[in-house]
Amino acid sequence: MSYLDLKGINKSYGQFVALNDVNLSAAKGEFVTFLGPSGSGKTTTLMIIAGFEKATTGSVEIDGRPLQGLAPHERNIGIVFQNYGLFPHKTAAENVYFPLQMRSVKRAAGLKRAEEMLELVGLRDFGHRYPKELSGGQQQRVALARALVFEPSLLLLDEPLGALDKNLREQMQIEIKRIQRALGVTTIFVTHDQTEAMSMSDRIVVFEGGRINQVAAPLDLYHKPETRFVAGFIGESNLIEAVVTDPVARTASAAHLGEVEYAPTDKAKKGQGVTLMIRPEHMRLSRNPIEGRRNAQMKVETIVNYGDNALVIGKVGDLTMRVRVLGADVVIIKENQDCCISWTPDAVYLIAK
């Protein structure tokens, strides 16, 4: 049963087309992420849902009720902005009370409710502080409490973690998910950070150039990207141009690699130009060819160490390939050495588009 519906949304500014036929349905309680590079239309879509931008054509419906003609303050949608948008002249509790005040809740009762909400986001006893007396992560929590306290029909998060450092960001990812689940509020989260999208979402909507490129669950998006753009945007990958030579034997011909066998798919036609995707962690690095696997000679150019793992980048002919190896295994190889990379046909995913 769909709860939020975006139907055929187009948005243009003069000649410039910002959104091109955006359609999407989300179920009640779902956590949907809009992922894409800047200028891909994800924030514009969010602002149309919130009512701050007007779609040129198309409609937004919540629970079957169209939002058209409703001003932002009539939509009952909670938003957390990138820089939080906390009112500097109000304390944390007064900030959280604000939406209740606008709904004519009495001050005493409203402030009590605000304190309860602050407790839910882990800010018990912080109600009397002003925003400038709070850290970035705490401000974030206040903004979240404020956007949720009035039981909105939808929660919108506009890159809310962008300003936080890495550790705090991971902590907040977990926090936001916990609170979102606890309240069961349908949520749209906008980000350009693919790891954030992967770790938090029920479904990810990938935006590119004002269009929706693919909508899928995080792991499906990772393992079965429908387009080359998604394959390149989500995670590290080796993307190899190839031409299908035999759909029955599942082989395609690629420059510098020759005939490559790919995983079963129904999308390949003989003679078709395709992209073959091999994730770096699905390949192995060795000194000598390994029997039973497809091997290729690679000259190592760069080794990027992450500690627990390393990314080995090298050339097979003119083709750049990336292989991920466990940190402990990287000692077998040095830069400018020749080595072997290998994979099995299961690891070769064919992308028709």
Partner: protein, 263 residues
Amino acid sequence: MTRFMKWLGVVVVIFIAAPLVIVVPMSFSTARSLQFPPPGYGLGYYQAYFSDPSWLIPTWNSIIIATATTVLTMLLVVPATFALVRHQFRGRSIADLMMLMPLAVPSIVMAVGYYSYFGAMGIVHTHIGVVLAHTALAVPIAFLVLSANLKGFDRTLERAAMSLGASPTKTFIHVTLPILRPGLIISALFAFIHSFDETVVSIFISGRNAETLPRKMFDSIRQEADPVIAVISTLLFALVLLGLVGPRLVAALRNRRPRVQAA
């Protein structure tokens, strides 16, 4: 070099402060006219100021005119600033320029203009005339202060307020206005001070009926060098000092309550 700069700083400060150092003791003088150093000290001229209607009436005139100027200026400047800072429209840059014009034109030119213009309208030598002229001169100053404040205003706050259920009017009352309050107060204060302090235009158009304090002081110093002028200067100085130091004192006292560090 740094030592030289330091001494230069001291000299400049002394030069700036010297008039104050001279004026304040002269106000307590017993001499018959302005004289430094004073031959003796007393409160005679303070008594003279507070009991002489020829001083008190101009003081009241100035207060009334400055207050009316402030109100009128803010009524014009607040909407104008919002329009000019937040909206793009045809002729905006010309409107911007016109707002600032009175600042660029010499006061004496403005004064002559008002004298003949208001003369034709029959409002020369009236409170209304002076208020209108002072408003024209105070508008650019109030506009400069307020527009700087408004440009720095984060509009996300207004969007946040609306998303939380505040109508545009309520957003203005609960969010925009309180956050801009310091800017509005300073802007109004500047308008008030500008009117209270304005001399050139007042000399031309205030006449006997709407005589302002600076005009009266100017007349007085030309005729008799009455030490009451020093009294008024001292009182004004004390008032300004209070206005400058007062808020800081309040802020300092407020900050003395234990501050909790953000974790």
